[in-house]
Symmetry: C2
């Protein structure tokens, strides 16, 4: 992509009402645009990064047998009345609207009800189970206070997986498989070492649910980490009873602020009973389906990653999430740069080419702010030194390489060899 064709520009200052580092940097770098408080647009760079995260999550969902689909955002009141989640006294984040022809609708803040109701068409026997269905879908939450930039917004894409099982044992197997897939996702995104499977309140049907909490100063939750056991406990269930139950010693815990990047819930028959999703077991007895739900917010993940992977110059995204493999800067060497741009593309790289008519200083600053993993400079100075200047954004390490060396280096870095 030539930057002369990319319409976004970097900004020196973020909007004054934007307090969080993630939104400040993402707005300044041209990744997102603030539509209003708690509502952001994803500009081309942000859209690409978000979809790389989505793609990593999708691969893991498919690997554990998840089948992708997509529900509507508009919600049928009657389904939510059946589970007693329509009333604003019971659920305080609904956005509601009305049909011109009459009748109230909701905007989905989650999708247990429609998934359960839809499955009545398809699940009738134990032979139909288990089922794992998931979607990447836009959720709407009427938050009283939208804060933390793109980490808590009123509209966002969510990956939500729902599992349907014939027994508690079958459910627990799925639950553990999803938990493992979540660990692989957070590892792949480079936040695995600061993300903890955290015990949280379980609701009616399970003693605990599990959250995946990433330690960060802007986190809204407080967790207590047991480093040795590699687990954590959410403040909301941090009682002596729970500590004893988990066999954790209070003295060995570390208190941290953290952000919930994923959650997994055992739902039991909370939804299948009121919505009458039953199946016949091997003896022909009718039983309610055992369900689970499992969420990850890709935009929150991008926000958390920017909080963790940035410095005073800008964003420092990892190779599998950065919108482009590298940023190529022409410093007064347009012909040579153009040639290298084509050669790098031919070699399979997704290149952001700064072909703008700008000062060297501005181009270098922008590259640091925008945070691609590598910067390649074509300049008189680099040419005299024997080639092109490659700088790794994360380490700052610089190398002078000729064209073939550069391509080989990048191929190795991107495991294209």
């Amino acid at each position: 992509m030539r930057m002369s064709k990319l319409f976004t520009k970097t900004r020196k200052e973020a909007p004054k009402d934007e307090e969080s580092k993630n939104a400040q940097l993402l707005i300044r770098a041209g990744y997102i645009h603030k539509e209003m408080a708690g509502v952001y647009d994803f500009l081309p760079l942000g859209y690409k990064a978000l979809h790389k995260i989505i793609s990593i999550i999708r691969d893991e969902m498919n690997a554990i047998g998840g089948v992708e689909m997509q529900m509507s955002a508009l919600q049928n009141k009657s389904l939510w009345e059946a589970t007693d989640r329509w009333d604003d006294e019971k659920v305080d984040v609904w956005f509601k609207t009305e049909l011109q022809v009459g009748g109230e609708l909701g905007l989905g803040f989650t999708h247990e009800e429609p998934f359960t109701a839809m499955m009545k068409q398809y699940i009738s026997s134990y032979k139909d189970l288990p089922v794992l269905a998931y979607q990447f879908q836009r959720k709407f939450r009427n938050e009283v206070r939208a804060k933390s930039g793109i980490m808590r917004t009123r509209e966002f894409i969510m990956k939500d997986l729902y599992s349907f099982a014939s027994s508690q044992q079958e459910h627990e197997k799925i639950y553990e498989e999803v938990a493992s897939s979540y660990t692989r996702i957070f590892d792949a995104l480079g936040i695995g070492d600061v993300t903890y499977k955290t015990f949280a309140s379980g609701g009616v049907f399970a003693k605990y649910s599990h959250e995946f909490q990433t330690v960060t100063e802007v986190g809204e939750d407080i967790i207590y980490i047991d480093d040795e056991k590699g687990l954590a406990i959410n403040e909301e269930v941090f009682t002596d009873e729970v500590l004893e139950d988990l066999g954790v010693d209070k003295a060995s815990l570390r208190k941290e602020k953290a952000s919930e990047v994923g959650n997994i819930f055992s739902l039991g028959t909370r939804f299948s009973e009121p919505l009458v999703l039953y199946f016949s077991d091997e003896s022909g007895n009718k039983k309610p389906v055992i369900m689970g739900s499992y969420g990850i917010g890709p935009a929150r993940l991008l926000g958390v990653m920017v909080e963790l992977f940035s410095d005073d110059k800008g964003i420092v995204l990892p190779k599998n999430v950065a919108p482009y493999d590298l940023q190529l800067l022409s410093l007064g060497k347009d012909e040579e740069s153009k040639e290298l741009y084509l050669a790098l593309q031919d070699a399979g790289f997704d290149v952001l080419f700064d072909d703008r008519d700008e000062q060297a200083g501005a181009k270098l600053k922008d590259a640091d702010l925008m945070g691609m993993p590598y910067r390649v400079v074509v300049s008189e100075k680099a040419q005299s030194a024997g080639g092109y200047e490659l700088t790794e954004r994360s380490s700052g390490e610089r190398l002078i390489l000729d064209r073939q060396e550069l391509i080989n280096y990048l191929k190795k870095a991107y495991e294209k060899v």
Copy 2:
């Protein structure tokens, strides 16, 4: 994909309230689920088909220099007040909702306003133009009558491209490029020969807009086609004056029902003036940006395709839109089928494998209903005849092929050689 893992099932009957052929077949084949009147969920098969259409559109938008991004669905009232499109008297399809913290919001039924307002951050000089930005985004329309199955719904994914130009001449060049890309899209989907670039009312800033209308009995529009000139005129502008203007002879026209599968609009300064999107020209004069907007609804396209490409047995989708390359049926030959399933996957095919414990008749019927381009049967009968039975869904042509012949045949069909 093993059908034993795909949770959907075919249905003998569509819901009674579903009048349109497209929704009836798509529901019966397990592509979609009706959430409520005018609101459908995309089940795994429908989601895959929809995304193949999206992918074809995306490639063409990128090819003409479009940059992909994604706006929010929630809309800021003040932007729409500025263009006088907030009032329900002016726009009769709004869904509106309210923030808990106070204030009305809309759900986007289109996105001219937020695109125009956002571009103020990035467009200030003629050097920043032209810009082509697009999205695949969920639109909400509070239709009084939702009908025609998935062809007119209250919530749907739309591809909307917006162009920003410094002059009418620059705009017209883009307008023609988008028109050509639309023609390529409809050709690729196999509906090019019954889709006409149609003159429709232009609004304030252009004499005409253009719709792409596909001839189908369920179409909501009436168009008059000039076969020789390869154009059509929408009934809404079908006057003697327009006929004369276009140099068309009334006697040579053919009247047809048609469905609007795409539209392209010259917006002039309709949005840039009220929202103050101005740029400095080469002489430093401030001028409003000249805009265009260009829509395609992928779900409506899928609906139109099912209307056109189906028979009394079911759906007959083309190779580039069908969810799977072929459906493999084991008729009492589970081991041989499994082996062939793996071999076909190894050869690069996306296979729907009917490994269910069902009667031969049911499997054959389901394959016809679900409409993959090819059906491969593993049976005693086919084996005695020398291999596997391949049937092309569209022609009904049958061949007996051994494994290597089958793979070669499919590779040729899918241009994988």
